[in-house]
Symmetry: C2
Subunit: 398 residues, 2 copies
């Protein structure tokens, strides 16, 4: 059987192959982007689930509307206001099967073959996978420690035909951990408001802020219904429900709902109900604070070890939140090779090349600090350093 | 913002609009395809959920692999053998967010714009919605009470360019309730094995057989890896988990897994674990038997009332299983108009026109018997008959 042409775009994720390797027992994995399971509010979810099935069993196990369970969407409306400074209504919220589905539906809604997607360089490879199905061309906008570089964005918008979408992660980006400054957010929104382009603001990490205060979302600065905001409960509660949300202006929402209905009818009624009841019975903010305390300590430990031991050629900054530290090594180092050697010492990470949609940059790596205990971080970083120094000396000598 | 061209194909479902109307309290609805919530094994699922969260909380709330939870897939392998006569391995099973997602992923894998999908005339409108995103042309194969008419199938295969997919529901079809005979299944597989075409066998109702024995699936007769089988727990356990499955040969499965990963990473870990534990702790077959007893009684009651009271111009048969009875009225009756009048009397159904992908046939209707109590059936059918007779007399007189 012949596959559709679009399937040529779709390749197995590098990360997928790596995660298979790293699931070997004993491996110290800085590779995935998984939250720490010891922080899941298991007992509270057990109580919430019990309550839901005791009180609303029939409703919780039945079909529901495509848009999702209204009381959960009302809680999200509050969260959008309180955390992301975005005022919206329940009708502007669609429950998705993780934020990943929000990206996929956005590709479906907007992208014809050959349309251009602008994204940060580097950016989230899961977004490339989801959007590639719709056969766009990716153009990477250069970034610095404050986010997208506006001159490069303007240049690309001015000189590129068919820019249809800008995909961004302004808060604690995957893979770099960087957040956009307030000035950069404002400048971005002013620029894009002059173009007929949809902005997908992917925000799974925004609440995991370890220093200072949260900055307002791009969605909160949107006056034209141009920004689609993607949120997720995977990092602030747990990923096992696969519950995220998409906020969009009513005109867009109508199409999103049709596309969602065609894709999978709706996301799990049961998970939506249990999550709603969990938030109703308990304090999600307190749970987020608990997570933040643990992740902040892991980040600090990893960063301190890196400062002490990493070769001086390595470039990295302290991320203000999220799950990742991004490391750039000298041009001549290929981090896919580094990974191979590192795995021999029992330490995994993700080579940076996967995060450039057009490839060609192989000297960076992404380290995750949320999923390993402080002991494992303490043990793993020196092992990684040893491999790194070995490779750097070979590269210098050759 | 301009939408992608494919979105022009996507329209809100008629059924969606109708279901909104029918959710008014007091409405007797034969419209939806919902299972009876009073038959959900709520207490058993509560116990299973409790067990999962007590014993495996961290794992149940974490990410899992795209393919789905292995022990659940192993249970499905057994079910495929025992119920659908299909031998397969765990690697050939992908957990999907309902069978609906299996249809959507199949469109994604196989359909280029302008490719032709053959389907039964009439067929499931949710499949049209899912596949239309990929801009195929639908050609309807004529059907009789034994399934697709083979001469028409052969004719279309011989005379149509670019037939890429055949979408069929051989067991208790939606909307007609009809099942394909064994001879028809065999003939179909012999014919399609001569063409380079994928067969999507959608089978959400197969286990809900009220008379006689189950017939082997098309998948069980497949020697070329040409059939993709879609199954669902929505009708035999409950829809609220949104857990279905897709069985495909390894070469196809590789692509399905990539497409699923890009679409939503994986379906809810928690729902997969709870469903697995429910099946482990309890007897799903006993639950299916309980459902069958209730639905059989409702079917019999509805059918008997129809035989007694329906105008003689109405054509319908006793479905051997599933959720629906299909009624054909004289050509001059438009069942969308019939619905409008019927709603005034508080009775809803789905007009048949929605089930023809190319439209043009408006004289049939679909009645659901699973979701209403015997009392409601007893009350609703005479009201529907009154409206029907009123319209028939107007049509005859005009």
């Amino acid at each position: 059987m012949k596959f559709a042409k679009r399937m040529e775009q779709l390749k197995g994720s590098d990360i997928r192959a790596i995660l298979k390797l790293t699931s070997q027992s004993g491996m110290i994995s800085f590779a995935g982007g998984m939250p720490a399971p010891e922080l899941f509010p298991v007992e509270e979810i057990r109580a919430a689930s019990d309550h839901v099935l005791t009180q609303y069993g029939k409703e919780a196990l039945q079909y529901t509307i495509t848009e999702g369970y209204v009381p959960l969407r009302a809680q999200i409306v509050n969260r959008m206001a309180n955390k992301f400074a975005k005022t919206c209504t329940v009708d502007e919220i669609l429950i998705t099967t993780g934020a990943q589905q929000g990206i996929e539906l956005s590709g479906k809604l907007f992208l014809d073959e050959g349309d251009v997607v602008l994204c940060e360089s580097p950016s989230f490879l899961g977004a490339f996978q989801a959007l590639r199905v719709y056969e766009p061309t990716f153009k990477e906008v250069e970034t610095d420690d404050e986010g997208m570089i506006m001159d490069d964005l303007i240049h690309l918008l001015e000189t590129t035909d068919r820019v249809k979408m800008i995909y961004v992660i302004p808060d604690f980006q995957n893979p770099t951990g960087r957040s956009w400054s307030l000035a950069r957010r404002r400048a971005f929104m002013e620029i894009v408001s002059q173009y007929d382009v949809v902005v997908i603001e992917d925000n799974p990490y925004g609440e995991l802020q370890y220093d200072g205060d949260m900055l307002p979302s791009l969605a909160s600065m949107d006056t034209r219904g141009q920004v689609v905001f993607l949120g997720s409960f995977s990092k602030i509660c747990c990923p096992g429900f696969r519950i995220g949300w998409l906020q969009a202006a009513p005109l867009l929402m109508e199409k999103y709902v049709m596309a969602k209905q065609a894709a999978d009818t709706h996301s799990s009624t049961y998970c939506q109900r249990v999550l709603h009841t969990y938030m109703d019975m308990y304090d999600l903010d307190a749970n987020v604070n608990r997570i933040k305390d643990v992740y902040r300590a892991r980040r600090n430990l990893m960063f301190d070890l890196m400062k002490q031991h990493f070769p001086q050629e390595a470039r990295f900054i302290l991320p203000g939140g999220g799950l990742f530290i991004w490391v750039e090594l000298p041009q001549e180092v290929n981090t896919r090779e580094l990974l191979e050697k590192s795995l021999e010492r029992g330490v995994a990470f993700v080579p940076g090349g996967s995060f450039y949609p057009n490839g060609g940059r192989e000297n960076a790596l992404r380290l995750n600090f949320s999923n390993m205990s402080e002991d494992k971080i303490q043990e793993g970083i020196p092992l990684l350093v040893a491999t790194m120094k070995e490779m750097l000396s070979i590269n210098v000598n050759s």
